[in-house]
Amino acid sequence: MSQDAVIRTAGLVKTYQEGWFRRRAYQALRGVDLEVRPREIFGLLGPNGAGKTTLIKILLGILHPSGGKATVLGQPAGSLDARRRIGYLPENMVFPRHHTGHSALQFYGRLNGLSEEVIRQREPELLEMVGLRGREGELVRKYSKGMRQRLGLAQAMIHQPDILIMDEPTDGLDPVGRSQIREVIERLREMGKTVFLNSHILQEVELVCDRVAIMAKGKLRRLGTVAELTEVSGSEAGALTILRVMASPEQVAAIRTSGSPEAPPVRVLPLTGGTDGELTLELSDGSQPSLDRWIDLLRSHSISIVAVERKKPRLEDVFMQTVDRSSVPESPLETMHDEGEGGMR
C-alpha cells in the first residue's frame, strides 16, 4: 500500500438492515480494498447495486461502515476534518426552491465555514468556471438540469477542497452538458485536484479517468488504468483475432473436423465488404498458438489467407466481462436473507 493515498479503504463492509419486526440484512459492500492517489481522476464503475454509492456515502460519513476501515486524507472517513477537505456533487442534486444561484453558493459556502468575504471573492471565478456567470441571480428552480449540475459543481468547489467526489455527474445530461462537465473535470485535473468519479457511463470514464475500478456485487473486481485493464483483459484471451480467407464455409467446416489435434474454436462471420469467395473467421481464443495452428491448417488445405487482424478489447468489453463473471453467486450474502449471519452489523 502506498503511504500517500488520499482515499484508502481496507476490508470495507456495509450491511443494511431492513424491516421493523422481522429484521433482514443485505450486504452492500463485502470487503472493499481501495486506494486513490493524490491528483488523479479516479473512476468507479459498476452496474446498479454494485455498492458504488454506498462506498461514497461511507467516505462522506453519511453511512457508518459495518466493518473494515476507510480513511480520507489520513482522517477517518466521515470525520469533520475529512469532510472539510471534500467537495461533493451528489447524484440528482436538489437545491431548495427559494435559492438563486448566488444565494445557493452563499449558503453552501457558509455551511463549509467560509466567511462572507471569501465567498464573495470566489463566487465570480467559480461561476465563470462552470459557465453560469450572469445567471446567478435567477432562481435555481428555473435552471436547466445541466445548469443545476454545474451549479452543484460550483458549490462543491467553493471551499477549494482537496478531493472532489462526484456521483453520476453527467447522468441525464445531453452531449453538450456532458462535454461541459468533462471540461470542468479537466480544469480540476490542471488544478491538481483529486477527483473521485462514480459513473456508469463508460465512455465518460474512459475519456477522463486516470485509473478505474470496477465494482460488482459489493466487491472490487478490477483496478487500474484503462490501458492496463484492457491489456490484461486481452492477455487473458479477451482479445479477438480475425482471419480473412479465400474459402467456402464447407471447406472451413471440413478443416475443423479433420484436423488432429482438433482445431481451436472458430466462428464464421458473414461477409461484409470483401470480394466474392472471401470468408471471415473469428477466433475467440486470440492466443498466438491458436493463430499459428489455424494458419497451418488453412495453408495445408491450400487456402489463401488474405488478411490477419487482431482486435483490441474496449473498456466496455472489460466491464461486461467483469460483470458477467461476477454474476455467479459467491456467497449466501449475495442475496437477501434473514439476520443471523456472522459478521453483520
Binding site: K57, G61, L63, L80, R83, N92, V94, R110, L111, N112
Partner: protein
C-alpha cells in the same frame, strides 16, 4: 457556529419567500382589520334600558292603577306624561300580558315621559329642591332647562315615583361600538369593567381558539414538510457531506422551522396589542409574553411532527401523527377538565351547619348535603344543584325548623340572582335545636325558644336524602349581591339597599290557593313574580348601594356594615330603618373588591388586591347623625396596616372571641386580631388545604379542608379535632388513581394555557371579581410556570429521540 447560523438564516429566507407566509399574513391583516373598528362608545345617558326594569309585573300593576287614577300622585303624574297610546293600553287592560307589556316597551314609555319638560312639579317632589345637587336645575325655568337637564331630572323623578322598580342611574352608559355605530343595548357595566371582561375572556378566548388551535394547526400543516424535505436523500446527503454535526443540523433545522411560526405569532399578537390598546384601551403587555409561549406550544407539536418526519420522511404522515397526538392530548385534557371540577372543586364544603348531631353542608356547586355516618360520605340532602350556581346560605331559622337557601347564577361580574327562587326545607324535628351559626337566628334572638337537648339526639334518617322536604318560595330580590344570617332571619344586600327576609309574609304569599286562583298564582310564579313584601327594607329608600359591595352584621346586631365602591359605612337602627352613622374611605380604587366581617368592636376590611387591611372600630355616634358629622362623629380613627398575606382572600369570618378567620386563595387559614394588628397562621397540618370556615356554637368553629373533610376548632384551647373524613366515591377514586396519573404523565400542551392566562392577568388579579361572593370560587391555578417545565421536558425527550435516531440511522 457559522454553518448553523447559516441554516437558521436560510430557514428565515425560506420563510419570507414562502407564498404561504404572505397568504397567511394577509389573512391576519384582514382579521385584524375586521376587528379594528370595535370599540367603546360612552355617553351620558339617562335613558332607561329594559334591564333597568327590575320588577316588571309590579311596575306594570302600578302603571295600570295610575292609568285608572289610583295610586300615588307622583305615579299619576308620570302616567300623565306617557304617550297617549300607552295610557289607553294601560287603561284597557288590567291583566298582565308579558308579550304585550315587555320590559322593553315599558322602558320606552317611561323614556317618553322622561323627555317631558312638564313632568317636574315641585309640590309633588319636594325632596328635589332640598337636595343641593338638584336645586339649581329644579329652580330653573322648565323652558330654559337643557335637554340633558330635563332627562337627568326626570330620570330621578321616575326612580322616586316607582321605588325599587327601576335600577339606580349610573353616571354614564357605555355601548360596544363598531365603526362608530352602537351595537346592541348599553352595557350593564362600566367601561373599565367591560375592559376587564374583554381582556380576560374575549381576548383570552380569541387568543386561545384563534392562535392556540386554528393558527397552531395551520402552522403544523405548513411546517410539517420542512423536516421530511430536509432529510430527503437529494438535499440531505449534500448537507451531511459538509463539516457539520447531524445533531446540530437537526436542531438548527428545527429552530429554523419555528422562525416561520414566530413571524406569524409576533405579527398577530402585536396587531392585537395595538388594536386592543388603541380601540378598547386595553394595553396588555402580557400579549408580548404570549409570543414566546405560543412559540413554545408550537414547539411541543413540532417536536412530534419532526420525529414522525424523520422516521417516515413523509409530510402527510407527519401531520397525521401530530394530529393524533393532539387528539390524545385534547381527549385527556378534556377528561381532566371535566372530572377535576367534579372531584376537586364542586364538592368543596363552603359552609357547615350543625343541626343537633346532624351536619349539613353547602358545597361549591350549590348542593346542600348531609353527612351520612354509615357511608362516611356526604349525601345529597336537597336537589339544589344545576348549572353554574352558587348557594346563598343556608340560613337556619331554629324557631320554625326551617332552612333557607337560594341558588344564584354565577356570572362573570358577580352573582346573578334575577329570577332565582328562594327555597327552604322544613325540618320540624330540629325546630327546637340550637343554632350553631350566626347565620341562623341564634340564641340571642328574642323570639327564639331555648334549645332542646332532646332535639339534638334525633337520628338522621333516610329522609335527609330523599329530597322530599324541599319547598320553593318566591324569587330572591333582584340585584341581590350578598346574603348573611342575622336578626332572626337573613339579610339581603341589593343595589337598592339592605332588606331583611320576612318569613311570615313570604309563607303567607306562597300558600297555594285552591282552584283557579291557585293555578293563576302558580302561573304568575312561573313568570317570575317577585314580592318585595316578603322582604322588609332596612335602609332608606334613596340609599343605594353600588357594586362591588359586601355586607356584615356585628354579632351583637348593633351595627350593620356595608362596603361599597371603596367606602365602608356603618349603619345603626333608627326606628324601623337603619341609617348610616359613619362612612370611611377604606380603599382608593372604587372598583376594588373587598371582604368585610364585623365583630361588636368594629369591622375588618380585607381587599382582594394588595394586603393593606383596614380596621374600623364600631361607631359611638348615636343614630340620626347628619351627613356632615359622618366620619368624625367621635368614633376612633380606622387602623390601617399591611398584613403579611400574599394571596387574595377567599373568605373572611368573624369569630366569637372577637378575632377573625381568613382563608386565602391558596388554602391557608389566618387568625386575625385587628386590635393588635396581628395576623397569624396556625401550624396545623391542614394548612394549604383549607376551603372554608364557619362559626359554630360559642367557641366552636367548623373548618372545612381537603375538599370535603370537616374539623372542629375550639377557640378556647386552639385544638383542632377531625369530625368528618369523607370516603372517596367511585368517581373520585377513578379520577385520583387513573385519570389524573395518566394526565399527569402525558404531555400537556394545553396546560400552557394556564401560563398564558397568567401572563394576560399580570397585574389584573381579581379585578374581574366584581362581587365578594366570587372570591370564594376555587381557582385552579397552581404554579403558572410549571407547565413550561413539564412540557419543556417532553420537548427535550422528543428532540433527543430525534438526534439519537439521526445518529444511529443510515440515511
Amino acid at each position: 457556529m457559522r454553518p448553523y447560523l447559516a441554516i437558521l438564516y436560510d430557514a428565515f429566507l425560506e420563510a419570507i419567500q414562502s407564498r404561504v407566509l404572505w397568504v397567511l399574513l394577509a389573512a391576519w391583516v384582514l382579521l385584524l382589520a375586521a376587528i379594528a373598528p370595535f370599540g367603546f362608545i360612552e355617553e351620558k345617558s339617562y335613558q332607561l334600558r329594559s334591564g333597568d326594569i327590575l320588577q316588571r309585573s309590579q311596575l306594570l300593576e302600578q302603571l295600570q292603577q295610575a292609568a285608572r287614577g289610583k295610586g300615588k300622585p307622583t305615579q299619576l303624574a308620570v302616567v300623565a306624561a306617557l304617550p297617549e297610546s300607552a295610557r289607553e293600553l294601560l287603561t284597557e287592560q288590567s291583566e298582565d300580558d308579558p308579550k304585550r307589556f315587555t320590559s322593553g316597551r315599558l322602558s320606552d314609555w317611561l323614556n317618553e315621559a322622561g323627555r317631558s319638560r312638564s313632568l317636574y312639579d315641585p309640590q309633588l317632589w319636594p325632596r328635589v329642591a332640598s337636595r343641593a345637587e338638584w336645586k339649581q336645575i329644579s329652580e330653573k325655568d322648565p323652558k330654559l332647562r337643557s335637554e340633558e337637564e330635563v332627562q337627568q331630572l326626570n330620570r330621578l323623578l321616575l326612580e322616586w315615583s316607582f321605588p325599587g322598580q327601576l335600577a339606580p342611574l349610573s353616571s354614564s352608559q357605555a355601548w360596544v361600538g363598531y365603526a362608530g355605530l352602537k351595537v346592541g343595548e348599553p352595557l350593564p357595566v362600566s367601561i373599565n369593567q367591560a375592559r376587564a371582561f374583554l381582556e380576560l375572556f374575549v381576548l383570552q378566548g380569541l387568543i386561545k381558539i384563534g392562535l392556540g388551535v386554528v393558527a397552531m394547526f395551520v402552522a403544523i400543516i405548513v411546517t410539517s414538510p420542512m423536516i421530511p424535505d430536509t432529510f430527503q436523500a437529494g438535499s440531505l446527503h449534500l448537507l451531511l457531506s459538509k463539516p457539520i454535526s447531524r445533531t446540530w443540523l437537526f436542531l438548527s433545522k428545527f429552530a429554523g422551522g419555528t422562525i416561520f411560526v414566530l413571524i406569524h405569532i409576533a405579527f398577530l399578537l402585536s396587531g392585537l396589542y395595538l388594536i386592543a390598546g388603541w380601540r378598547l384601551g386595553i394595553w396588555n403587555e402580557g400579549l408580548f409574553l404570549c409570543i414566546p409561549l405560543f412559540l413554545f406550544v408550537f414547539m411541543i407539536f413540532y417536536s412530534v411532527s419532526a420525529l414522525a418526519g424523520l422516521v417516515w420522511k413523509n409530510a402527510i404522515v407527519s401531520v397525521v401523527v401530530t394530529g393524533v397526538f393532539w387528539a390524545i392530548c385534547f381527549a385527556l385534557g378534556l377528561v381532566e377538565t371535566v372530572m377535576q371540577p367534579i372531584v376537586r372543586i364542586q364538592p368543596e364544603v363552603t359552609h357547615v351547619q350543625a343541626l343537633g348531631d346532624q351536619l349539613l353542608a353547602a358545597r361549591q356547586d350549590g348542593a346542600l348535603v348531609a353527612w351520612d355516618p354509615k357511608a362516611s360520605q356526604w349525601q345529597q340532602a336537597f336537589d339544589t344543584r344545576g348549572g353554574n350556581r352558587k348557594i346563598l346560605g343556608p340560613f337556619w331559622l331554629p324557631r320554625y325548623g326551617e332552612l333557607y337557601f337560594g341558588r344564584a347564577f354565577v356570572a362573570p361580574f358577580g352573582i346573578n340572582s334575577d329570577g332565582v327562587r328562594l327555597g327552604y326545607a322544613n325540618l320540624p324535628e330540629f325546630a327546637t335545636a340550637s343554632s350553631s351559626s350566626p347565620s341562623s337566628t341564634g340564641s340571642s334572638q328574642p323570639d327564639s325558644p331555648p334549645a332542646s337537648s332532646a332535639a339534638s339526639s334525633k337520628p338522621a334518617g333516610e329522609s335527609w336524602f330523599s329530597g322530599q322536604r324541599l319547598e320553593s318560595l318566591e324569587n330572591l330580590l333582584p340585584r341581590t349581591r350578598r346574603a348573611i344570617g342575622g336578626m332572626g332571619t337573613f339579610l339581603v344586600l341589593t343595589d337598592l339597599g339592605v332588606y331583611a327576609f320576612d318569613r311570615s309574609a313570604a309563607l303567607a304569599r306562597s300558600k297555594p290557593k285552591k282552584g283557579l286562583a291557585g293555578m293563576l298564582q302558580n302561573a304568575m310564579g312561573q313568570l317570575g313574580s317577585q314580592s318585595r313584601e316578603s322582604y322588609r327594607r332596612l335602609t332608606p329608600e334613596d340609599w343605594q348601594v353600588a357594586p362591588p359591595a359586601d355586607l356584615a352584621l356585628s354579632a351583637d346586631e348593633a351595627t350593620l356594615w356595608v362596603y361599597s365602591k371603596g367606602k365602608l359605612m356603618g349603619l345603626r337602627p333608627e326606628g324601623d330603618l337603619w341609617k348610616p352613622v359613619v362612612q370611611r374611605e377604606v380603599i382608593d380604587d372604587e372598583e376594588s373588591v373587598a371582604l368585610i366581617a364585623a365583630s361588636p368592636a368594629g369591622c375588618l376590611v380585607v381587599p382582594a388586591q394588595g394586603n393593606r387591611w383596614t380596621w374600623c372600630p364600631a361607631p359611638k355616634t348615636a343614630p340620626g347623625g347628619t351627613d356632615a358629622a359622618m366620619g368624625d362623629g367621635g368614633e376612633s380613627d380606622p387602623l390601617v396596616w399591611n398584613a403579611p398575606v400574599d394571596h387574595p382572600p377567599r373568605s373572611l369570618t368573624a369569630l366569637s372571641d372577637g378575632r377573625f378567620a381568613m382563608v386565602d386563595s391558596k388554602g391557608y387559614l389566618w387568625m386575625i386580631d385587628p386590635a393588635n394588628q396581628s395576623c397569624l397562621q396556625p401550624t396545623w397540618d391542614i394548612q394549604g388545604k383549607v376551603v372554608s370556615v364557619t362559626p359554630g356554637n360559642q367557641s366552636l368553629v367548623w373548618v372545612a379542608h381537603h375538599i370535603q373533610n370537616v374539623s372542629s376548632l375550639d377557640l378556647s384551647n386552639g385544638q383542632l379535632t377531625p369530625m368528618v373524613t369523607a370516603k372517596p366515591k367511585r368517581v373520585e377514586w377513578i379520577y385520583e388513581w387513573l385519570v389524573h396519573p395518566i394526565y399527569w404523565g402525558f404531555p400537556k400542551p394545553s396546560s400552557v394555557d394556564a401560563t398564558i392566562l397568567y401572563c394576560l392577568k399580570l397585574g389584573n388579579d381579581n379585578k374581574l371579581s366584581l362581587d365578594p361572593a366570587l372570591l370564594g370560587q376555587t381557582e385552579q391555578m397552581g404554579d403558572p410556570w410549571q407547565p413550561l417545565w413539564s412540557n419543556a421536558a417532553f420537548v427535550a425527550v422528543m428532540l433527543t429521540m430525534c438526534c439519537v435516531y439521526l445518529y444511529r440511522q443510515d440515511l
